[in-house]
Structure formats: C-alpha cells, structure tokens
Amino acid sequence: MISLQLRLPRRDFTLDLALQLPARGITALFGPSGCGKTTVLRALAGLERAQGSVAVGQAAEQVWQDDAAGRFLPPHQRPIGYVIQEAALFPHLSVEKNLRYGLRRVAPGSARIELAQAAALLGIDHLLARQPVTLSGGERQRVAIARALLTSPQLLLMDEPLAALDAARKAEILPYLERLHVALAMPIVYVTHALDEVARLADHLVLMAAGRVQASGPLAELLARTDLPLASAEDAGVVLQATVQAHDPPFGLSLLGLDGAGQGGGEQALGLWVGALAQPPGSPVRARVLARDVSVARSAAADSSILNVLPVTLAEVQLGAATALLGLRLGHATQAMPAATRLLARITRRSFEGLQLAVGQPLFAQIKAVSLMR
C-alpha cells in the first residue's frame, strides 16, 4: 500500500490530499491540466517537497518522507523509475550509455532487470548505438522507459508519457506499456489527462481536481458511477473485465463472457459479441463500452439488427438539460450485482420521459459498439 499525505500551496490552488494506493497494478492519476497530478508524482519521486508524508510500505526504509520524524529521502535514494513526457534523454550520451546510466548506479545485488531484457521488452535493441537526437519521438520515449526500468525500481512513475506523441506513436507504445505491466509485475503510477489511456491501462483510478482528490477506487467501479464529472465526458463509458468464451469463424465474431456477471441466482451468463479475436478461449480481455453507444428498450426486440442486447436493471439516473445518463446494473435479478458489472447509457431526455423510466425497472441495453482495450 502506498500512503500519501501531501500539502503544498501553489499559485492557483493548494494541493491537499490523503491517498491510499494499491502497491500493484497501474494506478492512473486523472484530471484536467493543472489540477496537481504532476505535483503528486513529483512529490512521490522526491523532486518536489510538499508537507506531509510518503510511504510505500510499513518498513522504516519504505518511508520516503515523514515531516513529523524529519525524514526526507532525496530522489536519488528512492527506488523509483521516473518517465516524463519529454523523455529527457541525455543528449551527450548514446542510447546504450543512456540505458547504462541508471543501471551502473544501482547496487549490483538489486539489479533485477538486464539491459538486453529491457531493450527487448521495449523493442530498442537496434537503437543502442544511436544518438538520442537521431531517434523519433516514440523511440525516444521507449528508450526513456527502458532506462528507468534498468534501475529495477520498486515503483514506476510515469508523467503523461504519451502526451507528446501523435496517435500513431501512441499506438506504437501502448502495447509496450501493457507488456511491461504483465512481464515485470511492477506497480506503476501513471499521470494522464487522456481517458482512453486510463480505460486501456489503469486498474485503479484517482480523480483529481484543483489539488484535491475527487474519488479514488478500482477503475471499473469509478467509470460506472454517474455522479462523477467523468460521466459527463464525451467519451464516458465503462470497462468490463471479460473472458473469451468461443469463436464463431463463419461470421467473424467472438463471444466474451462478462466476469462477475450471471453467476448469481440461476441467471444465465451474460455475453458480448465482438469482432473475431486472436486469443484462445479462456483469455482475459478488457472491453470498453461508451455511454453514447448504449441505448435502452423496455422489451427485448427480436427484430433488431443490434447483436448485443443485455438484460439490465435501471439503478441510477442523472438528468441533464437534454440528456439523461443511466446507470444500469447487469441482469434482471433483484440481488445486487457487483458494482463493477455496470453499464452507462446516455439517452435523450425526451426518450427518458417518453419511456417513463424509473429506477428499479428491468430494461434491455442495446450495445452498438464494444472496443477491446487489451
């Protein structure tokens, strides 16, 4: 568990928060520009000195800052990796020397990752002899990530590592980040203001605004809430953990079973049809369903072209001027399903009134699009 208690007056706001973050998986710090998320990351790294405390565990050496005890570890004594938007490669050193910079400063016993391993993981083997100035933006960022990994950090801090890159370069790096997560089991704290990166990478989400924490919790739970500012974003939507169940080659489709859904009380398993996947049955996948791609009906239409129609129960409603945001619990059963297995649907207020929807009502969610995150 990572515990933070930080207070730091800034020009526009005062950073003031107390946070408990899981010491595993990817935690995303999400919020608008200038909300203090970078400052939180810098305080974790020791690059910024806020008042308060920072601890990544119970042991004495895992307390990185404790003002009450007068303890503050400078950045070079914290077992972190730190990657920023601009990569910050050393221009006077070759790629290989950049990679070795941190590696040779780590105590020999505690280096768990080898140069060849990191280079292979990030696909930069062929760049080792190059000078940083000759690299593309995406290559530079991969070198910076490998360089940070080679210090074998206990915690990887990433500050908008993809923000300086165009969509193509982003798409180039995202798979590497996912591999990192899987291959090294290294906890990552990831700062971003891009919701699609959050949906794709994060396990835990911290929402920030004006120096404060609005909400902190498991990603799926927070994305499914209707009462957070997230829900009003154009690309608001939920992520669903699912398992590949079967393939349907003649139609070029695959069937996903939603984890945690349909296991209680004799309810049938809930599934989603998606475009054909390469993964074998049993593989875990993460699917994202945007609120704007979900509509509801009071009965299951047998004459619809929409493939994915799931029984749901209306759990929450947030009314806007012209739209209504619906929180939908999967299944028609009365017992509560895990909060994570929810959908959001954004419909017009006119439809909401016309259908005379009420909380607790059984409905059918028609899902027009599912995107697979990993």
């Binding site: 400078p74 950045p75 070079h76 050393f90 221009p91 400063r105 933006g137």
Partner: protein
C-alpha cells in the same frame, strides 16, 4: 618616430616578460576554473534572494576601471589591510609587488569572463535532465560531473579561453599591485608600457603585434572549437526536437 623595420626577435627582457605573463595567465586560469566553475554552478541553480547581488558582485570587474580594483586590493593586501594581516599571520608575507599578489588580482579581474559563459551554460541545461539523472540514482556531485559539466562544455571552453586571454593582457590591476619588477611582476602589458614610456617603439611594436596576433588566434580557435554543429546537436536534443 622610429622606423617600422625591426628585427622580429624579442630581447631577453621581453622574453622574460612574455614567460611571466604566460605563467600568470596559466595559473590564473587554473584557479579561475577551480573557483569559477562551482561558483557559477551554484549561482545558476540558487533560489537565494541575494542572487542578483552575487551576480552583480561577480560582474563588478567588468564595469570598474581595473585601477579602482587594483587600488582596493592594494589597500586590502597592505600591511594594515585585513588580507595583508591574514597573509602575514599565516607567514606568507605581504602580497603587493609579488607574483602571488598579481595572481590574486588577475583572478579577481578575470572572474566575470569565466563566470558568465559558465553560468549561462549551466542555466541552459534543462532542469528535467538533472532531475532525470537524480531519479536514475545520481547524487548531486555525480549529476554535476556526469551531466552538467559535459553539457556545459562549450561554455567551459569559452570560459577557459576568455579567462586566459584576459589574464594575459591585464594591465591596470598589475600596475597598481605589482609595478614593474623584472622577473617578478613585469608582465607583457607592463613591458609594453615601459617600452612606450622609453620611446622604444620597435620593441613596443613587437610586443603589441604579438598580442594582436595572439588575441586573433584565440578568438578564431574559439569559433572553431565551439562550432554551431556541436552546439546545435546538444541544443536540439535538449529541446526535444523530433
């Protein structure tokens, strides 16, 4: 007016002055770099409210007549001055009219020529590179030697050359502090002055021309060493250009 036709050979006395000047400039440059580099590094990074004052103090020799500086140094180093008392208490004797006194004066006089290029070079290093080094386990001293110094190399070369050239040509402070004792304080610029005073224009021409040629050579080689190619390479990487 004497004729311009003269022998190119320097007299032994002039050679002595040239050698002394080179020794003074060489020793001053070494001391300047040892003193100026950490000072410039500190000034470049400090958030002290007194930074403008320190910067101004270091730059004073640029705007003050060297004779003013020499006068105060003479007072400070004299038997009643605090520096003079200190050197005497330490058994070093008095500094005025000695080679050591010249070195002190020349270092002070040339300090801004060394400090300014160094400070500018250090300030041009993006903080994120030093922060990246810190997160890669490099302590403060390590960061200075592995990142700051290599990236400040053009500034370092400029500082070295300007410091040496300025120390070599220093006149006002030398005259106030050292007079013209052959082999001890009679450096090139003073020898030149003496020649002119004695209307030995051929000798004066030789020394003056040698100084002009030297200065030109120094500035041209500085251009060559700090060619834009090398500087641009660092700058564009630093700026994160694609």
């Amino acid at each position: 007016m004497t004729t311009l036709s003269f022998s190119v050979a320097f007299s032994p006395a002039d050679w002595q002055a040239i050698t002394l000047s080179l020794q003074l400039a060489g020793l001053s440059t070494v001391l300047l770099l040892l003193l100026g580099t950490p000072l410039a590094w500190w000034l470049a990074g400090t958030r002290s409210a007194l930074k403008p004052l320190w910067t101004a103090l270091v730059a004073m020799p640029l705007v003050l007549p060297p004779t003013v500086l020499g006068f105060y140094l003479l007072v400070l180093m004299g038997p009643q001055g605090p520096m003079g008392q200190a050197t005497q208490a330490l058994g070093l004797g008095r500094l005025p009219f000695t080679f050591a006194g010249l070195v002190v004066g020349s270092v002070l006089c040339s300090l801004p020529f060394v400090m300014q290029p160094l400070q500018q070079a250090f300030e041009a290093i993006p903080p994120r590179l030093l922060e990246a080094a810190a997160t890669l386990r490099a302590g403060p001293l390590d960061r200075f030697f592995s990142i700051a110094l290599p990236l400040a190399r053009p500034g370092l070369v400029t500082a070295l050359v300007l410091g040496f050239a300025h120390a070599l040509g220093e006149f006002g402070v030398v005259l106030m502090l050292g007079g013209s004792i052959p082999g001890k304080t009679r450096v090139l610029s003073v020898a030149l002055y003496d020649h002119v005073e004695a209307t030995e224009f051929a000798d004066a021409h030789r020394l003056a021309a040698a100084m002009v040629v030297f200065a030109l050579a120094v500035l041209v080689s500085l251009q060559l060493v700090n060619r834009p190619r090398a500087a641009a390479r660092v700058a564009s990487t630093v700026a994160g250009a694609p």
